[in-house]
């Protein structure tokens, strides 16, 4: 169930959380449909089920903080304020997309929003996240970096090299492990000698905690602890977000490694959006009809984004040869 709101979280902000999580969900549903229709090609990894993590954590980020993640990146981009239209246009490979159509779903970036990707190679973004944090320390500003990675990625060696450096050099970084229980078809238990991922920083003196990553308020609360630790110069912090991905690993994953019942049970009991909706209504913060209006507005906006993405021009042929060197 949804936790009691924090003192720092006002009612207006909770409604915003609802709105942002639902925007990500509707965006992903639409992306799935466009993939089925052939408008999106290649690999496309949906974030449905995990929305609370980025929405909760982005609520504590300040101007100048950086974030970097894997290929499952649409939610992160929406949450940090990038335009759904231009994200969708990248998915459909159009010139108006964030990477001019050259990156696609897995590889998108925004210098303006300090979003450093969108990385296709599992765990490669984690040392990069430490580099972003390093730049903050070097410049002596008050910014922190958020480095997101999955439960499967958590077994890559470069993560432990990064933990060591981040702790040794007291870098302002929050490592966010999005533990959605599966790495493609491999469950956490089948790949990890110790499934308590939040303890993996112990050997490096990095504090960590496990968080209900399907509860946006719990995410925010833990995020604030991590943030305080990092911004006050105490070095890195690990947040293991326990969550679940509803869809297959990518659009082409038949997901035979888990039962429908398992998925349905989580949807019924832990859905971050449904639970927040009930919370808002039962605490008289909002009404069913207000939330339905919000949903309708979101659906319209996402439809617009899809129309924009489909009707935008494909990239100019000359773009093949640009951006190789600066």
């Amino acid at each position: 169930m949804v936790k009691k709101p924090l003192k720092t979280t006002g009612n207006r902000e909770i409604i915003n959380f609802f709105q942002e999580m639902l925007t990500i969900r509707r965006f992903e549903e639409k992306a799935g449909q466009l993939y089925g229709m052939g408008h999106i090609g290649g690999f496309c990894h949906l974030y449905i089920g995990q929305e609370a993590i980025v929405v909760g954590l982005e609520s504590i980020a300040i101007e100048g903080d950086q974030r970097v993640t894997s290929y499952r990146d649409h939610g992160h981009m929406i949450a940090c304020g990038m335009s759904p239209k231009r994200i969708m246009a990248e998915l459909t490979g159009r010139g108006s997309g964030y990477s001019k159509g050259k990156g696609g779903s897995m590889h998108m970036f925004s210098r303006e929003k300090n979003f450093f990707g969108g990385h296709g190679i599992v765990a490669a973004q984690v040392p990069i996240a430490a580099g972003l944090a390093f730049s903050n320390k070097y410049r002596e500003n008050n910014n922190i970096a958020f480095g997101y990675f999955g439960d499967g990625a958590a077994n890559q060696g470069q993560i432990y090299e990064t933990f060591n450096m981040a702790s040794l050099w007291v870098l302002p970084i929050v490592f966010v492990i999005e533990n959605n229980q599966y790495a493609m078809g491999t469950s956490l238990e089948r790949a990890s000698s110790s499934p308590a991922l939040y303890t993996r920083g112990q050997a490096f003196n990095i504090p960590g905690e496990a968080v209900d990553g399907m509860n946006v308020l719990a995410v925010k609360e833990a995020g604030e602890r991590a943030e305080k630790h990092c911004r006050s110069g105490k070095g890195p912090y690990i947040l293991e977000m326990n969550t679940y991905r509803y869809r297959g690993h990518s659009m082409s994953d038949p997901a035979k490694y888990r039962t429908r019942d398992e998925v349905n049970k989580i949807k019924a009991e832990r859905d971050p959006i449904d639970n927040l909706r009930s919370y808002l209504i039962s605490n008289n913060i909002s009404t069913d009809s207000e939330l339905k209006d919000i949903d309708k507005q979101i659906k319209d906006a996402i439809s617009d984004a899809a129309d924009f993405a489909i009707s935008s021009d494909i990239p100019d042929d000359n773009e093949l040869w640009t951006d190789i060197y600066s």
Binding site: Q33, Y35, G36, M37, G38, G41, G42, F43, E90, G93, R94, S99, G101, K102, G103, G104, M106, H107, H119, G120, I121, V122, A123, G152, A153, N155, Q156, G157, A183, M184, G185, T186, R190, A191, S192, M251, S252, D253, P254, Y257, R260, I314, P315, D317, E319, L320, W321, I324
Partner: protein, 436 residues
Amino acid sequence: MIRDLLMPSLSPTMEEGKLTKWLVQEGDAISSGDIIAEIETDKAVMELEAPEDGFLSKILVPEGSEAVKVNGKIAEISSETTEHQKDSRTSSKAKEQVETNVDKFEIPSTKLDTITVRESIRDAIKEEMSRDDEVFLIGEEVGEYEGAYKISQGLLNTFGPRRVIDTPITEHGFTGLAIGAAFSGLRPIVEYMTFNFAMQAMDQIVNSAAKTLYMSGGQISCPIVFRGPNGAASRVAAQHSQDFSAFYSSIPGLKVIQPFTASDAKGLLKSAIRDNNPVIFLENEILYGKKFEREASEEVIPIGKAKIFLEGTDLTLISFGIGMTYAIEAAELLSKEGISTEIIDLRTIRPLDKNTIISSVKKTNRCITIEEGFPICSVGNNITALIMEEAFDYLDAPVINCTGKDVPMPYAENLEKLALVNTQEVVERAKEIIYR
């Protein structure tokens, strides 16, 4: 309101699929997210979710239908139910169609004695594992998931978890571990989900596997196969679309194979597994599903022997792996213009079959190489240098290298096409050097 339900695209390489099963009937109420059908793609059987709430008012493509084109209409969804739709549920029309379709489908591909590259690779692994207990398969998703590209389907069942080993996502680690096992005499087959991820393990492959025999004065050999899909698939962009032929071929101590036909894939993989050296075995996702006629020579094909795929007199085209598809198409187009083309399928890139190349060029006096990899320091560059040194006097025109473009692979459909090598380009360059 009636909406069309279209055959969805469910994988990067899917163009058509089989509608294996309807899980609902005409007239049934469906709600968004319900599983309403099963669709077999080039890789797996996928579940189709209802895109919206409503009623499945009409099934247009009955279950069992093969080769249903992506984006073709498969059913209609209406927002409300009607009597008419309820009636149509009992109609036997759909049933009849199933039967006729099943009939059509029942012509089994094996009658023509064809086999896919995927099956051939699987057979090679299976046969070698049956023959030699020291051979084992290790990699991500090779066991319970049966391979990200279904190469290892059934192998866990046959050989058990001692010999079909699922790893964490730890390429550098499990590659080093497998090399250690090979040093002690086991014969690992290391599957990379794709070769793009072997870059995480490049140090172990190059510094440990390739060099140790030499550094140990011949004591420690490394009988290991590194295999997996290589090169561009479809729309998976820069980090997932790279041809590593030239990369690995520059390393002394490695052997590098890239087969084209199914029988070559099988015969060469068997040789690779039996070889006492580290072998890089480069497969291709797009070729996995391609059917080839079984060749008689399938059993064990020696490493380092090229194949004359087509004999000709005016021009030699040299390629390997998926590059062969452009060579074959180009040869067909050129023959319509009276140009006789010889095609060499290298099959092994290192060690290179110099004799086959040189004797062909001495005969045709012209040569074009074709590959999907980058142009700088390419396999073609190496072949060009070889021809310059050993057949310079026989050349009537410069050797041409047709390659992928000198750019990271873009995602957008139009740009991806431009980045890849293509048949038209081969034909044009051929005419240029034949002066017609």
